[in-house]
Amino acid sequence: MDTSVSATSVSARSAARPPWKMTYAHARAFLLSGVGVLLAVLIRRPDLIVLVFPLILVTGWGVITRPSSLPTAALRQSHTMMREGETAYLRVDVTPVAGQDFSAASASTSMYVEAPRGANAVVIATPKPGVTLTSSVRLRATRWGRRRLGPVVFGGTSAWGAFRFGPTPIEALGITVVPQPAAFDSSAPAPSPRGLVGRHRSTRPGDGSEFAGIRAFQWGDRLKRIHWARSLRSGNLHVSTTHADQDTHVAVVLDAHYDLGRSEGLDSRPSSLDLSVRAAAAVSEHFLAHGDRVSLRVLSHRAPMTVPAGTGSRHGVRIMDTLAQVVPGPPLSSRLPPLQLRPGALVVMVSAMVSPDAATSAATLAGAGFSVVMIDTLHDQVQPADDEALALVAWRIRMIERDHEIGAVIRRGVPVVPWVGPGSLDGVLRQLGRHRR
């Protein structure tokens, strides 16, 4: 799934357009020229004339070639969606005016939007007035979510740096940064596939690729299924049977009620919600790649969201877009809303399990006959923000309670898997599959 190839183009124009202003450099050249000539005449020092003569020429040259009209600049972005860790290009279209030598643009960085060294500023030579030139600056988003690229400040300069236009701001452009799925690869089949198409082996025999057994021929069997060796030995026609290949409905439930720890971007320490979102993205992408139907439910009081079951790469983009909008918000009540799942769905609940609500909900679903897997995304580095002894004690007590809750939910038949990346779910999915058969 390529989420970074959206062809939408968004542009913004510079709003305020201040006039060309005299620079310190021009004032310096003018002042030193005047004082130098005056002094040379008064104290009879011809060498002073020679010393300040270049500055006289520079001053005159700067005044004669001073631009009289204002340049324009527009900002475009080639993508409206990208993955965290990727680099976005902001294209600056500059239309210079007569007398303008160079244009310069510089993009501001912000929280979770950084610039590779020297990549967020550009100097553009503008030899021909009226001809639009395009250059680009680069910014890198280090965390999922809605981010703003910019604002970009734009400026221009005339000959000898005598006059300056700007810097004038061009308003920032928004971009959706979807999570970078944590490395995840599961080779285990989904436990109870029910659909019509897919790559999982069904519990029922049917038209598929995995061998199931050999039985006597019945009317309606395909001739290509006849097992000739067995038929010759037994004297009766026999056919080989296969398991049907089917898909399953994977309901990813993301517990976004709390965000513990400080997120420091993709390359550094994650928060619990970072891990949860990336794990949900990885699980969704994995099952979508296997042809399964995936739905998403985000549990958050501030931004509850639901993506109905679907399949395909476009559905994957929709899920990623939804994950990018996750905002943590604690629940108003201890009862989670009903998830409205169909029988046979595999429920993957991604949670830091800070409050007992998610575990309770998982146990309830398991009691209702669903295959439920909980992914624990609370990592060891999450600690209370302050160093107060009371906070640390409270945290330790909560962790002990949490261990008890995890034990209780495991006893109810819900496997709880700490998120460790590749193969996290393999063992659990295999166990669930055997149990169902």
Partner: protein, 182 residues
């Protein structure tokens, strides 16, 4: 303190080409100091202060510092170089003028572009070409001054008054062309 930190960050963020441009600016200022030492041989401390001032101005080209430094350099030239015509229009004068030209141009052009942006080749070509043109004109004036200094020209108050009048006209013209329009 925060200004110093900002200046420090500015230097750390410099692109390689921008760093080269600032080093060229600093070297041009040093050329002026060398020419002054060769022409007049001022006090060692004065030379040291001029060197530090040039380096500081190259570090902060977008401030008023380059102006003060250039005033200081010219003042030292007036004070230390003897008034004998054989010394005032020596080749060191031309060298000092060219150094001052490159120092001013470097500071002016570095101040108008973002420090972290790489400078395109056109930036070097354009500014280098202009410096060459003005440098050639300065050399021509220096030669002319050398020729005229050997000639016996009538002095008096009139040429001085004419020069001051021209200067006043230039200042008024500049004011009307630039300052009044800003």
């Amino acid at each position: 303190m925060s200004g110093g930190r900002a200046a420090g960050r500015d230097v750390v963020a410099l692109s390689r080409s921008h760093l080269v441009a600032r080093l060229v600016t600093c070297a041009a200022g040093a050329l002026f100091v060398v020419a002054l030492v060769a022409a007049a041989g001022p006090n060692v401390w004065v030379v040291l202060v001029m060197g530090v001032a040039v380096a500081l101005a190259s570090w902060q080209p977008h401030t008023l510092l380059p102006m003060f430094v250039m005033v200081y350099l010219l003042a030292n030239w007036v004070v230390w170089v003897p008034t004998a015509s054989s010394l005032t229009l020596s080749p060191w004068t031309l060298l000092a003028a060219l150094g001052l030209l490159v120092f001013h141009t470097g500071a002016a052009c570095c101040a108008t572009v973002p420090a972290q942006a790489p400078l395109p080749p056109a930036w070097w070509r354009l500014n280098g070409g202009r410096v060459a043109v003005v440098g050639a004109a300065t050399t021509a004036l220096w030669l002319l001054a050398g020729v005229l200094s050997g000639a016996e020209l009538g002095g008096g108050i009139v040429p001085a008054l004419v020069a001051v009048g021209c200067l006043a006209v230039a200042v008024i013209a500049h004011y009307r062309a630039v300052v009044a329009k800003v």
